[in-house]
Subunit: 365 residues, 2 copies
C-alpha cells in the first residue's frame, strides 16, 4: 500500500484543480491519499491530512473551479524547512509526494528527495507542471499558460476594439500582463489582432521609456489608436522601477504600465490610461482554453501513473508531436534537467518572428 | 422611400454591434441607410455616409465584435451642436434617426426632434437602449448590462477563489467596478459567491473609510479572506476623492479602490492590493451573456419596426413578463418619460435584500 501526499504551490491557475482531479481519479486502487494544505507551508508545518471519501469528493467537485482548492500560497521554503518537511512526511508514513507547481516546486521536490535519501528514507517524488508565466523548461508549455494566454489575447483584442471606437476620447491604452521575467503572456496579447495596432514590451528586451514615447508618437501619425502591452517584468532603461512589496522573499511586481502611463502623459501631453489585466489572467473560468483543460487533466493522470510505476525524480511534461494537426504526448523528464534548464524565457526565434510564435500558440488558445 | 441614419454613442458594450445588426437586418426594404461616425460628433460635424452593400456587409460581419463598429466616443453635445446636427441630417435628406445609447442619447434625440420640428422639419427619432451601468429608466434593464454583470460576477467569484487559496500570502483583495452613480454592476459581484466572503460598496450608500476599515478588521476575525468590491462612483465620507481627468465635460472616474487600499494598508497595517476590473467589463467577448446577445438583437430589430410604423419619440424597452420562467416583451416608451425617470440607481428593495436582486439578475447572467 502506497501512502501518497499531494499539494499545490505558487500562484493558482484556472486549471490547477483539473490537474489535481486528474491525479486523484487515476491513482492506483491500493493507495492512501494525504493532502497538503497551503503548499510548502503545509509540508513544513505539517498541515497534512488523510483524505477520506468525503474530502476526495469535495476536491473532485472543485475540478473546474479557479484557485487551488487545497490551498497554495507563498512561503519561503528554506532548506531547514525542507528538512522539517521530510520529517513530517515520514511521521505520516508518506512514501510518495506529488506536487503541482512551477520551477520552485521542481527544485524543492528534488532537494527533499535528496534530504530524505541522506536520512535513509526512500521518498518518491513527482512534479506536475503548472504556471501561467510558461517559464518552466523541459516541457512544450505548462498547464495554466494556455488559459491565461487565451484571456490575454481576447482581452487585448476586445479592449483594442473598444478603444478604437472611442478614438475621439482617447488614443492609447496601456495594458499590463503577468509573466515576471518571461514574455510569453505579454506576447500572447497580439495573437488575435493586427500587428500595427499593438506594441508589445517584453522583459526579454531592453526598452527605454524615451524610445517607447517616440514610437507611440510616431505610430499615432498614421493610425488613430494604439494599444501598448507591457509585461510586469519589463525593465525600463534597465531597471524595474516599481515593486509593490516583498513578501515571503518574493517581490510583488506591478506598476510597469503605470510608469509608462505617467511618462507618456508627460512626454506626449495626452490623456493616456493604463490598466492591469490583473488576477483574472490566471483565474477567470470564462477564459479557460479547452486544450488547457484537457492537458491539465492528463498531466495529473500521468503523475499518478508514474507513481504506480515506482518512477521518481521526474516532472510530467508535454511534448508537442505535431503543430499542423496539434497533437501532444504526455511524457516525463528528470527534475534535475528542469532545474538545469532554469527559468525559460521567450526564445529569440519567437521574439524576432512574432508570427512563428503565434503559429505555436494558436492551438493552445 | 425612407432615409434612415443610425449611430452609436457613449461607452461601447460587448453587444452594441449586435443591436446594430438587429436594426439593419430588420429595416424595411424601401430604405436608404446612412451611418453616423463617432456618435454625436458625427452628427454635429456631418460625418455621415450612405451605407452601400459592401459597407453594410462589413457592419454585419462585426455583429459579435466588441467595441462600437461605427465609432462612438465622448462629445459635448451642446444645444448649438444639436442645431447643427439637425441641419446636417436635413442636408442629407435624412428623415429618420435611430441612435444606440444611454440617458444622454435619449435626451439628445428628444431635443433634436424638438429643434427639427421648430424648423418645420419632420424628424422621426427612435432610441435603442444600451448601457453597462444599467442606469436607464423605463426598461427592465438595458442591453450591455447583462454581459458586464456576468463578467463582474464570474471575475469576483474566481478572484475570490484565487485569493482564498493564497490566504497565507494576502487576505484582502479590493476590486473596483464600473457603474458611475448606479450600483447595479458592483452589486452583481456577489451573485455567484457566499455573502460573507464579499463586502460590496455601492454609490447609493453613504460609506465612511473608517467604518469600512473596521468592518474588514471585524470580518477577518472569523474568516481567512475577504473580497471588497467598490463601485467607481462610491463617495468615501461623502466625496469621491479621485477622478482621473475631465474630458468632453465628462469626469473620468477611477481610483475609489486605490483609495480604500491605501486606507486599509495604513489603518490595518497589512498588505492589501486593489485591482480595477477595467474595460473588460464592457468589452470581453468571452463574458457575453447569451440572454444579453439575444435581447440586444431584438431591441435593434424592434427599432427598425418602429421606424417602419412611423412611430417617433420612443425608446425601445425591455419589459420582463415573468421571472419564474424568464420571459420578456420588447416594447417601447416615450423618450420624455425616460428623461423624466432620470438616472436609475439601485432600488432600495434590492439594496436591502440582496437575494431579491440576485433572483432578478440570475436569468440575465
Amino acid at each position: 500500500m502506497k501512502r501518497i501526499a499531494i499539494g499545490q504551490a505558487g500562484g493558482p491557475t484556472a486549471v490547477i484543480n483539473t490537474s489535481l482531479a486528474g491525479f486523484i481519479e487515476n491513482l492506483p486502487g491500493n493507495t492512501e491519499l494525504y493532502t497538503v494544505e497551503n503548499g510548502y507551508e503545509g509540508l513544513a508545518e505539517s498541515k497534512i491530512q488523510k483524505a477520506d471519501r468525503k474530502r476526495i469528493q469535495k476536491i473532485l467537485d472543485a475540478k473546474y473551479d479557479s484557485g487551488a482548492c487545497l490551498g497554495s500560497g507563498r512561503y519561503e521554503f528554506t532548506e531547514d524547512k525542507m528538512v522539517q518537511a521530510v520529517k513530517n512526511l515520514k511521521a505520516y508514513g508518506v512514501d510518495s509526494l506529488a506536487f503541482i507547481g512551477g520551477n520552485g516546486t521542481m527544485a524543492a521536490l528534488e532537494k527533499m528527495e535528496e534530504i530524505a535519501r541522506a536520512e535513509g528514507m526512500d521518498l518518491q517524488v513527482i512534479g506536475i507542471p503548472k504556471t501561467v508565466d510558461n517559464d518552466l523548461g523541459m516541457t512544450d508549455h505548462a498547464p495554466g499558460f494556455a488559459s491565461a494566454a487565451r484571456h490575454v489575447a481576447y482581452s487585448v483584442r476586445d479592449i483594442g476594439r473598444d478603444l478604437e471606437s472611442m478614438r475621439n476620447f482617447e488614443k492609447v491604452r496601456i495594458l499590463e500582463t503577468m509573466g515576471r521575467n518571461a514574455g510569453w503572456l505579454a506576447a500572447a496579447a497580439g495573437a488575435l489582432m493586427e500587428e500595427e495596432k499593438c506594441i508589445i514590451c517584453l522583459p526579454e528586451q531592453k526598452i527605454s521609456l524615451k524610445s517607447m514615447a517616440d514610437e507611440v508618437r510616431e505610430r499615432l501619425k498614421s493610425q488613430e489608436t494604439l494599444v501598448v502591452v507591457v509585461s510586469e517584468g519589463v525593465e525600463w532603461d534597465g531597471a524595474n522601477p516599481i515593486s509593490q512589496a516583498i513578501i515571503g522573499g518574493r517581490v510583488v511586481l506591478g506598476g510597469a504600465a503605470t510608469y509608462l502611463q505617467e511618462t507618456l502623459r508627460a512626454k506626449l501631453g495626452m490623456f493616456v490610461r493604463s490598466e492591469n489585466l490583473g488576477i483574472s489572467q490566471r483565474a477567470l473560468s470564462l477564459s479557460v482554453s479547452e486544450t488547457d483543460r484537457q492537458e491539465a487533466y492528463l498531466v495529473g493522470a500521468k503523475a499518478a501513473k508514474l507513481l504506480e510505476e515506482n518512477i521518481s525524480r521526474k516532472m510530467v511534461c508535454i511534448e508537442r508531436e505535431s503543430n499542423i494537426r496539434y497533437n501532444v504526448h504526455i511524457g516525463s523528464c528528470d527534475l534535475q534537467k528542469v532545474k538545469d534548464a532554469g527559468e525559460r524565457t521567450m526564445p529569440l526565434e519567437f521574439i524576432r518572428d512574432r508570427r512563428k510564435f503565434y503559429e505555436w500558440l494558436k492551438p493552445l488558445i
